[in-house]
């Protein structure tokens, strides 16, 4: 019957609308469901995933030694040209010339954090750090030198 359908429609519609309102009403009254994290305040307790790819770094040990041989694998692996290796020739005690790293230049502003350089590195000299607060006022500050001044290669690392 027409009237019956008419009122059934109204009943069903109202019921579906009230179901939705019940849900939003539930969240309105249950504040513990709020998911927002207040970022600068929770900086201390913020736990980022250990593998999060934030920037490329070169770990140095206590003696200011790294494991980079200056082989340019990372430079070749990088799709954006964000790594530039400037190498030099060291004179070994035996008097031979040996290729070594002079400057490992890393352009953070070009980097897309794909992680290919880390995978390509044969000596695990570079890795991805999980830092993410990279904003600076001057773009030039994003061009980084990864090997620290005065650092040298660890003993026993060969190409």
């Amino acid at each position: 019957m027409f009237l019956k359908e008419y009122f059934l429609d109204i009943y069903k519609a109202t019921k579906s609308l009230l179901t939705g309102m019940k849900l939003t009403g539930y969240y309105f009254t249950h504040h513990k469901e709020i998911l927002t994290e207040e970022y600068p305040e929770n900086r201390k307790s913020l736990q980022l995933a250990e593998r999060f790819r934030g920037e490329v770094i070169m770990p140095h040990d206590a003696n200011n030694e790294h494991t980079c041989t200056g082989c340019s694998s990372c430079e070749i692996a990088c799709p954006n040209g964000s790594i530039k290796i400037i190498s030099k020739f060291d004179i070994t005690p035996e008097g031979k010339k040996k290729k070594a790293i002079d400057q490992h230049i890393y352009h953070l502003e070009l980097c897309t954090m794909c992680g290919l350089c880390v995978e390509a590195c044969p000596t695990d000299a570079i890795k991805m750090a999980n830092t993410f607060e990279h904003s600076v006022f001057n773009r030039n500050h994003l061009i980084k030198r990864l090997n620290k001044p005065g650092s040298k290669i660890k003993e026993g690392i060969e190409e």
């Binding site: 790819r53 799709p79 897309t112 954090m113 995978e119």
Partner: protein
Amino acid sequence: MFEEVGTTTEGDLIINLGPQHPATHGVLHLVITLNGEIIKKVEPHLGYIHRSIEKMTESLSYRQFIYVTSRMDYLSAHINNHACALCVEKALQLEVPQRAQYIRVIMDELTRIASHELWWGAMAMDLGAFTPFFHAFREREKINEIMEETCGARLTMNYMVPGGVMVDLHPDFQKKVKAFIQQYKAKIHEYDELVTGNIIFQNRMKGIGYLSAQDAVSYGCTGPVARGSGVASDIRKIAPYDVYDKVEFDEVLQTEGDSFARYMIRIQEMHQSIKIIEQLIDVIPDGNFQAKTKAVIKLPKGEFYQRVETARGELGVYIVSEGAAQPYRIKYRSPGFSNLSALDHMVRGHKIGDLIAAMGTLDLVIPDIDR
């Protein structure tokens, strides 16, 4: 612009929907010819986010070109990467370790769920309901956290490499995924309460944007759009890759062909993805996660094609190799492009509100259409 529209007659209203418009999810530009408020013609214009990815990849090696594809359909980045990796492996005739295959499929399905979650929220937002968007992000955030922990990134993962995956799973991976599945199952009924069952929503979707099975095929629609019209087009069933032939899942089909059918397809696909993950998560075999490959990958001379099912439909990767370390030519067959082409057909004679609703059900990602 006016000359291009063609069917314009005196008294028609021509509206530029986009490239900056809240409902186009990016920089899609639609030129709509209106008669009053009835749509006479919709003409999509592309090119606002063209980054020439195909040309760019010609100068990248076979390891490097994968990461760029994350920027195409950024919501199914894993699946794009997967397609590229599969194509290279096919050319090299490389056997991928079982463990890597399992991981890849699980990651693909997680990506599919995340993509559909975002689509669900954005879809509701297109129809004027803002709350579902944030509720969808709650579950999506869990997936992003899982991705972040294992792959190191949340959106553009670059996790698949030729021969397997880049790093092994994080020790917590299985635990986290199970926790996610539990949360998903506990919360999924809210999706129906908030949106699916809503009378306004149903009235907005049912009977709108009809696409017949024939038209779906002739426009080249794939994925949920084609399946909503009853066209079985799931690549995971037609041409199974990796371990998809070992898992049991249904290809969801609806025959109505309207916006609501496409909506229901995606909702049910999320359930199917959960089903796939549940089957695989406990039986990931031990072993290598990556096959040994040469430092510089060189593909044999020839042409190689691989297709996969992304969250939006069929993605094809076509590589022409001259035997060098870089591809001679790469062509991507993106699902969004063909799906978008059916929009004009779907919405003629409807109103602007219906255009937005129908466009929402196509689940367009503009960088995927316009590479």
